[in-house]
Amino acid sequence: MTTKTSPMRDMIFFFVFAVAVLTMPVWLAPIGAGYPDLLQKFAIYGLFATGFNLLFGLTGYLSFGHAAFLGVGSYSAVWAFKLLGMNPLPAAIMAVITSGLFALAIGYISLRRSGIYFSILTLAFAQMSYNLAYSVLTPITNGETGLRVLRSDPRLFDSSSAVDGPLIANLFGIEMTGYAGFYFCAVVLLIAFFIAQRIFRSPFGIMLRAVKTNQNRMNYTGLNPRPYTLAAFVISGMYAGLAGALLCITDPLAGAERMQWTASGEVVLMTILGGAGTLLGPIFGAALIKYFENIFSAFNEQTLHEIFGFLPDFLEGPVVSVTGLFVGEGWHLTLGVLFMLIVIFLPGGLMEGFSRIGRLFKRSSGKSGPGSATAPAE
C-alpha cells in the first residue's frame, strides 16, 4: 500500500505544493475563487484539517470535538492582541501553547478509551467548553457577543501607536488584510504542512500507523501506544489552535460558535472528503468545501434561470426548482449528499478517486505487456 517515497521525492512534492499554494491567487482566479477572503479560508481550514488528519488519518481515533481547540486558539489569540498588541506572532505562539495544554488535558483523559467511546468523550468535552464559553466563562470569552479587541485594552507593545479606524493585526507594519493576510496564512500552512510531512515519514508516524493497524499486536511487542497517541492528539490540537489564531489574525473576533459540535463535524467532513491518511487530501477537501460553500450559497433563482436558459421552457421550470433546493440556503443539502456519496463509494476520499483514475490510465497505456500492470493484491 505504501507509495514509493524518498527524501528527494518529498522535497519535490513539497516544492510543487508550495508553488501551487503561493500562486493560488493566479490559478484560482478563473473559477471565481481568486480573492483573499476565500483564499485565507482555504489556507486556514486546510491547516485545521491537516492537524485533524494527523490524529484521525494516522491513528484512526475519530475525535468529534476538535472545534474546541479551534475555539481555544481563537480566544487566546484575541487575548494576546488585547494584552500584548496587534502583532500576529505572539498571538499565534500563545494560541499554540494554550491549545496544546488544553489538548494535553483532554487527551490524557479521553485516550483512556478508544472507538466510539473516545468519540463521545471528545464530543462531551467540546460541548462542555462550548456551553461554558457561552455562560459562566463570559468574563473571559465575552459570551454571545464574542471577544474583540478594544481601544481601551492595555496592548503593552503598541499602545503608543494611536491608530484611527478599526484595529487590525499587523506584522511589523504590514496589515493583515487582503493579500498580505492570505500570504501570512499560506506561509503558516506551508510550515505546518512541512512538519506534517516529516511526521508522516518519521518513525513516530509509523508508530502512529501501527496504532491504527493493530493495537493489540503493538501491545504484545512491548510498546505502549498511549504516549504516541497522546502526542498525536496534542500536536493535532496545536494545529487546530493555530488555525483558530489565524482566523483571529485575519479578523480579530472570537465567538463561541466556533466550538460547537457542528464545527467539529465540518472538519471531519473535510478530511474524509479529501481522503483521511493522505497528506494532500484534507487540504484539498477543506478548500473544496469552503469553495462550494461560497459559490453555491451565493446562487439564487435568477442565476439558475440564466444557467439553464438554453433548455426548452417546459424543462427549465422543473430543473430550476429542483436544483434550487441544492443551492443558496440549501447548499448544506449538497454537502450532505456529496458526503454520503463519498463515504459509500469512495471511502478513501477524493485522493483515492484520483489514484483510481490514475491507475486506469496507466493500465490502458500498458496493455501491450499482459499482466505487467496488474495491481498487487490488497
Partner: protein, 342 residues
C-alpha cells in the same frame, strides 16, 4: 422537599424523550451493530409527521356568506377546515386531537422510512468500520434535515395539545403541599405515561414473542443464531423499522412541549448518544435508566440553589456525568462485556 419533587417531575419528561431515543439507538446498535447518527433525524421526522397531519387536517375551504359583509363591503369569507365542513363535530374533535391522532400517520410513515433506510443504506454498512457508519449516517442526517428545512422552513412550528390536557395540574395539593408550589402541565404527564407505555411495549415484544426471542438471541450472539439457520438479516430490517417508529413516536408526542424545527433532531442526538454510552452500549434497560437519570440530573442542576454553589453546572452536567462514568465504569452503567471493545 417540594422543590426536589418539582425538579424530579420536570426531569422526567425530558428523560422520557431521551430514554425513547436511546432505546431505539441501543436496539439498532445491539442487533445490527450499526452506530446510527441519523437517529435524531428520525425523531425530528416523527415530529414533522405531527406537523404534516395537522396541516392536512386544517386545509381550509373558503365559502362566502352573502348575507354578511365585511367592513369593506365585500361578502364575508368564512374559512372552515375541510374536516369540519364534511364531518361536523367529529371533524373539530379530530383537529383538537391532531397531535395524538397523528400517531396513526406516524407509525406507517416511520415504518416505511425505517424499512427504506435499512434496505437502501444501512444494510451495506454492516461490514464497514464504525467510523464509516457514523459518517454515512451523519451525512444522511444532514440530508434529511435539509429536506425538512426546504419543505417546512427554518422556523419552529408550534403544535398545541388537545384542550382537555392543555392546562397544568396542581400536583402539590394532592400530596399535602401548599397549593401552587408544584404545578405540572398535564401534557407532560401524558408524555410520561406514553413513554412508559412505549418502553413497556418494546420490552414486552422482545420478551414474550418468538420474534423478540430471536432478536435477543441475535443481540447476544449473532453468529450462532445465523448458524442455526435463522435469517437474521430479515429480522434486522424489522428491528430497525421498530426503532425508527419508537423515535418517531417520541417526536410526535414531544411537539406540544417543544415546537419542532429542522435541527431539533441533532440537538437530541448528541445527548441521546451520551445517554446510550452512560447506560452501556447494547443494554436496553441501561438506555432507559440512563435516559431518566440524566433528564432528572439536568433538571436538578438547573435549580438556582445548585447554580449558586457551582455556576454553570446546568450547562455541562450531562457531559460531566458521561465523562465520569466512562472513566469509572468503562462499559457504562449496565454495559456487557465484549460490546464495542475492539
Amino acid at each position: 422537599m417540594d422543590v426536589i419533587l418539582l425538579q424530579l417531575l420536570n426531569g422526567l419528561d425530558k428523560g422520557g424523550a431521551y430514554a425513547l431515543i436511546a432505546l431505539g439507538l441501543t436496539l439498532i446498535f445491539g442487533t445490527l451493530g450499526v452506530v446510527n447518527f441519523a437517529h435524531g433525524a428520525l425523531f425530528m421526522l416523527g415530529a414533522f409527521c405531527a406537523v404534516t397531519f395537522n396541516k392536512l387536517l386544517s386545509l381550509e375551504v373558503v365559502t362566502t356568506d352573502p348575507t354578511k359583509t365585511t367592513a369593506w363591503g365585500s361578502p364575508l369569507e368564512i374559512r372552515t377546515p375541510y374536516v369540519e365542513a364534511y364531518l361536523g363535530d367529529f371533524g373539530s374533535w379530530m383537529l383538537n386531537y391532531s397531535v395524538p391522532m397523528s400517531i396513526l400517520l406516524a407509525v406507517p410513515v416511520m415504518l416505511l422510512i425505517g424499512f427504506v433506510m435499512e434496505r437502501g443504506l444501512i444494510k451495506h454498512f454492516y461490514k464497514r468500520p464504525h467510523a464509516d457508519q457514523i459518517l454515512v449516517t451523519f451525512g444522511l442526517a444532514i440530508v434529511l434535515q435539509e429536506i425538512i428545512k426546504a419543505i417546512y422552513g427554518a422556523n419552529p412550528i408550534p403544535q398545541s395539545a388537545p384542550e382537555l390536557v392543555r392546562g397544568a395540574a396542581d400536583i402539590g395539593s394532592i400530596f399535602g403541599f401548599d397549593p401552587g408550589v408544584i404545578v405540572y402541565p398535564y401534557w407532560r404527564m401524558v408524555y410520561l405515561g406514553f413513554a412508559g407505555v412505549v418502553i413497556a411495549a418494546v420490552f414486552a415484544f422482545l420478551r414474550f414473542t418468538t420474534f423478540g426471542m430471536v432478536v435477543r438471541a441475535g443481540m447476544a450472539d449473532r453468529d450462532t443464531v445465523g448458524l442455526l439457520g435463522i435469517n437474521i438479516e430479515r429480522r434486522f430490517t424489522v428491528v430497525f423499522a421498530i426503532a425508527a417508529v419508537v423515535a418517531g413516536l417520541a417526536g410526535v408526542m414531544y411537539t406540544p412541549i417543544l415546537p419542532p424545527d429542522y435541527h431539533m433532531g441533532m440537538d437530541f442526538l448528541v445527548l441521546s448518544f451520551v445517554v446510550v454510552v452512560v447506560g452501556g452500549m447494547g443494554s436496553l434497560p441501561g438506555a432507559v435508566a440512563a435516559g431518566f437519570l440524566l433528564g432528572i440530573l439536568q433538571s436538578f442542576a438547573s435549580m438556582n440553589e445548585v447554580k449558586a454553589i457551582l455556576p454553570g453546572i446546568d450547562q455541562i452536567i450531562i457531559y460531566l456525568v458521561a465523562v465520569v462514568i466512562l472513566l469509572v465504569r468503562p462499559r457504562g452503567l449496565f454495559g456487557r462485556k465484549g460490546v464495542m471493545e475492539n
